[in-house]
Amino acid sequence: MMHAFRELVIGGVLVAPIVRYVVATLVVIVVLRPALYFIGFSSLFSNPPVAELSLYLVIFGLLTLLL
């Protein structure tokens, strides 16, 4: 099944779908941050930056797949 990517058009300028997903993922991460702090996300991993990067990639992949 082919996934149809819709381009974003701002003032006549076409914006690549990947840019939209990257920005949406950033917004989701920022919103999720207080929840991550609350559950002690960084204390669950030996290398929290890599865990946060992985979470970012998972959300980015999900958004790309589902939207």
Binding site: R33, Y37, S43, P49
Partner: protein, 643 residues
């Protein structure tokens, strides 16, 4: 672990920077971006040792690029009919951005500078082809995004250190030094104003680093709040120590208070022998002793608060209180710097226009970049001098790299290997403690990449390279000459304006409007002004005198704010008259009346043991000391010993 005289952390940082540059170039070549060298230059700009600093600067770089691109399109759209009008608009925009740089610090100031020189990079370089501005903006935006992604990925995967550990070490060290200062000052040792001012400067200098903690991880915002509270608390603790030293300078209770700083605090308090603010007594010495006791309690409370904030920073928990850290800024100094920046740009543009050389806009854009980046440093002229020194070194390095090391190769692995010694070497210089070497390293990293301008395929054209080198020399030389013609704001002027603003702010206290900031936060803002005074000079007698006056203003303003805060807490109608006369004494800056009001409040508060009334009384005694001439052997608090 040390290798070749440099710690392992420096080597790890340098290798991360090289890998990030290689990754950014590889992805840019793969995506066939039009400006792959911008991706590599983004890494050079974001070459910072910790993750939080990198991420925060990257965010501001994106925001500033969008602002700069919008300004470029708007300026060219409005002023494209006339070349001189266009250059005037560019100069005005760069001046405005440099003005904003003067009002901000850290990466926010960098963002303002970048907004300015993005115009120089995009609009000035396309001054003869304004229809290409949008395309070059898109190319630049795409390359910057790739650069940011590359350095973020490399920092995460190669475990770039977190910043909070280093900040905790610095804050703990400053805490020890403030405690040591308190002990020595209270025991009667003469402490020159420069010591306290130097401590304030070191504390305030941590503000940008603490702000960048928020971007570090999910615990970043709480650690940032804890570090900020510790930083503001340290300033308040230093003030309390100076106030206590001045109050006890001629007091018989000094020895007992000194014992508090020498060990057993519990038994020392019991042995203090001074009455607490509720103890009975009916003479002036009782009032002074009660005030000293209150101030000792305040100092110990501040010390405990800083301890708790530092513990919260280490554990990632919320601090006991969340202070804000307002930044002091001088509109006058910022405006002077902005006007000068616009004039420098206009003069350089005028000289290049008179010369009539082809492609001189490249040189003008270098001028814009150096003005913008120099505005974020404490001394613009030193930065220009550094650029003047770095330009030939970087040109030599870039020439060796392009025509001796690479010499026509087209394979990417060879480019990556060839880049290694130059990038690693420059990054190692950046990691050094010496500010001159560190600045040279950063400029070399930027200039080498700008002159090499990696592209796919690489042209290896000696003529293009020589023109680029010529334009860089021309830009740095021209800016240096223009700054000799119109020098940046002198240190004398800076000091004068800063002291004038301190006097002006002091004259408005106590203010009856609703306070935006707590007394502690205002103390921190005033400490920012003291740090600017310290930075505006060397070891001259005039400079030391200015520091003494700045510290006196700091102490008096803080004492007035503490008094105001304590008096505001008094809601009892029966002592309204005493509160009114206390405010009158504070407005008149009359130390004797302050002491009389303090005595009246002390008498009013004693029967009911009202702590708020007695604290206000003690704060008034503190203010009276701040506005009274201290004994000749005390060089702390209100009027420092002038050299």
């Amino acid at each position: 672990m040390v290798w070749a005289g440099l710690p392992a952390s420096s080597w790890a940082f340098a290798i991360r920077i090289w890998l990030a540059i290689v990754l950014a170039l590889y992805v840019s070549f793969w995506l066939e971006l039009e400006a792959p060298s911008t991706a590599a230059l983004t890494i050079a700009i974001l070459a910072l040792p910790t993750r939080g600093q990198v991420i925060e600067k990257a965010v501001f770089r994106i925001i500033a690029t969008v602002v700069g691109i919008t300004a470029s399109i708007a300026i060219v759209g409005f002023c494209t009919q006339s070349g001189s009008l266009l250059l005037g608009a560019f100069a005005a925009w760069i001046g405005l951005c440099v003005y904003v740089v003067g009002l901000l610090d850290g990466n926010r100031a960098y963002a303002a500078a970048l907004s300015g020189y993005t115009v120089a990079l995009i609009a000035v370089q396309q001054i003869d082809n304004p229809q290409h501005i949008f395309e070059s903006s898109m190319a630049r935006g795409a390359a910057i995004t790739i650069g940011i992604l590359a350095i973020t990925l490399v920092s995460d995967l190669l475990a770039a250190p977190d910043h909070h550990g280093q900040l905790a070490v610095k804050l703990n060290g400053l805490h020890r030094r403030v405690a040591d200062y308190a002990g020595r000052a209270v025991s009667g040792e003469i402490m020159p104003a420069t010591i306290a001012a130097g401590l304030l400067r070191e504390i305030v200098a941590l503000r940008p680093d603490i702000a960048s903690l928020a971007a570090e991880s999910s615990t970043g915002p709480t650690r940032s709040a804890a570090a900020r509270s510790a930083m503001v608390g340290l300033v308040a603790e230093l003030f309390a120590a100076r106030a206590l030293a001045a109050l006890t300078a001629s007091s018989p209770v000094r020895e007992q208070i000194t014992s508090l700083f020498e060990g057993d605090r519990g038994s020392a308090r019991a042995a203090l022998g001074v009455p607490h603010p509720g103890d009975r007594g009916n003479d002036w010495s009782d009032l002074m002793a009660a005030s000293a006791s209150w101030l000792t309690g305040e100092l110990l409370r501040r010390d405990r608060e800083v301890h708790k904030s530092l513990d919260a920073l280490a554990s990632g928990d919320r601090p006991p209180q969340a202070w804000r850290a307002p930044l002091f800024h001088s509109h006058r100094i910022a405006a002077e710097a902005g006007i000068r920046a616009a004039v420098y740009f206009l003069l350089a543009a005028g000289l290049l226009a008179i010369a009539g050389w082809p492609a001189a806009e490249v040189s003008l854009s270098f001028v814009g970049i150096i003005i913008g980046l120099g505005a974020t440093t404490p001394d613009l002229r030193s930065f220009t001098t550094l650029a003047l020194v770095a330009a030939p070194v970087a040109s030599l390095m870039a020439g060796v790299l392009e025509f001796l090391v690479l010499d026509g190769v087209t394979e990417f692995p060879l480019l990556a290997i060839g880049l290694a010694p130059f990038m690693v070497g420059a990054a190692l210089l950046i990691s050094m403690q010496n500010p001159v070497l560190s600045g040279l390293g950063r400029l070399n990293l930027v200039f080498i990449l700008a002159l090499l301008a990696p592209s796919n395929p690489q042209t290896y054209n000696p003529e293009t390279f020589l023109f680029s080198v010529l334009f860089l020399f021309l830009a740095t030389g021209l800016l240096f000459a223009v700054q000799i013609l119109i020098p940046p704001v002198s240190n004398d002027h800076r000091r004068r304006w800063l002291l004038r603003s301190a006097r002006h702010d002091l004259s408005r206290l106590p203010c009856h409007d609703k306070a935006d900031f707590t007394p502690e936060e205002c103390m921190f803002r005033d400490a920012g002004r003291v740090s600017l005074v310290v930075a505006a000079g060397d070891d001259s007698p005039q400079h030391r005198a200015a520091i003494g006056e700045a510290m006196a203003n700091f102490d008096q303003a803080a004492a007035l704010r503490v008094c105001d805060a304590e008096l505001r807490r008094l809601a009892d109608n029966s002592i309204r008259a005493q509160v009114g006369s206390a405010y009158r004494a504070l407005r008149e800056r009359d130390a004797t009346s302050m002491l009389t009001s303090a005595h009246a409040l002390h008498q009013a508060g004693r029967p009911s043991q009202d702590r708020a009334t007695l604290a206000a009384s003690a704060a008034l005694v503190l203010a009276s000391v701040a506005f009274d001439s201290p004994p000749p052997d005390v060089a702390v608090f209100s009027r420092e010993r002038k050299p």
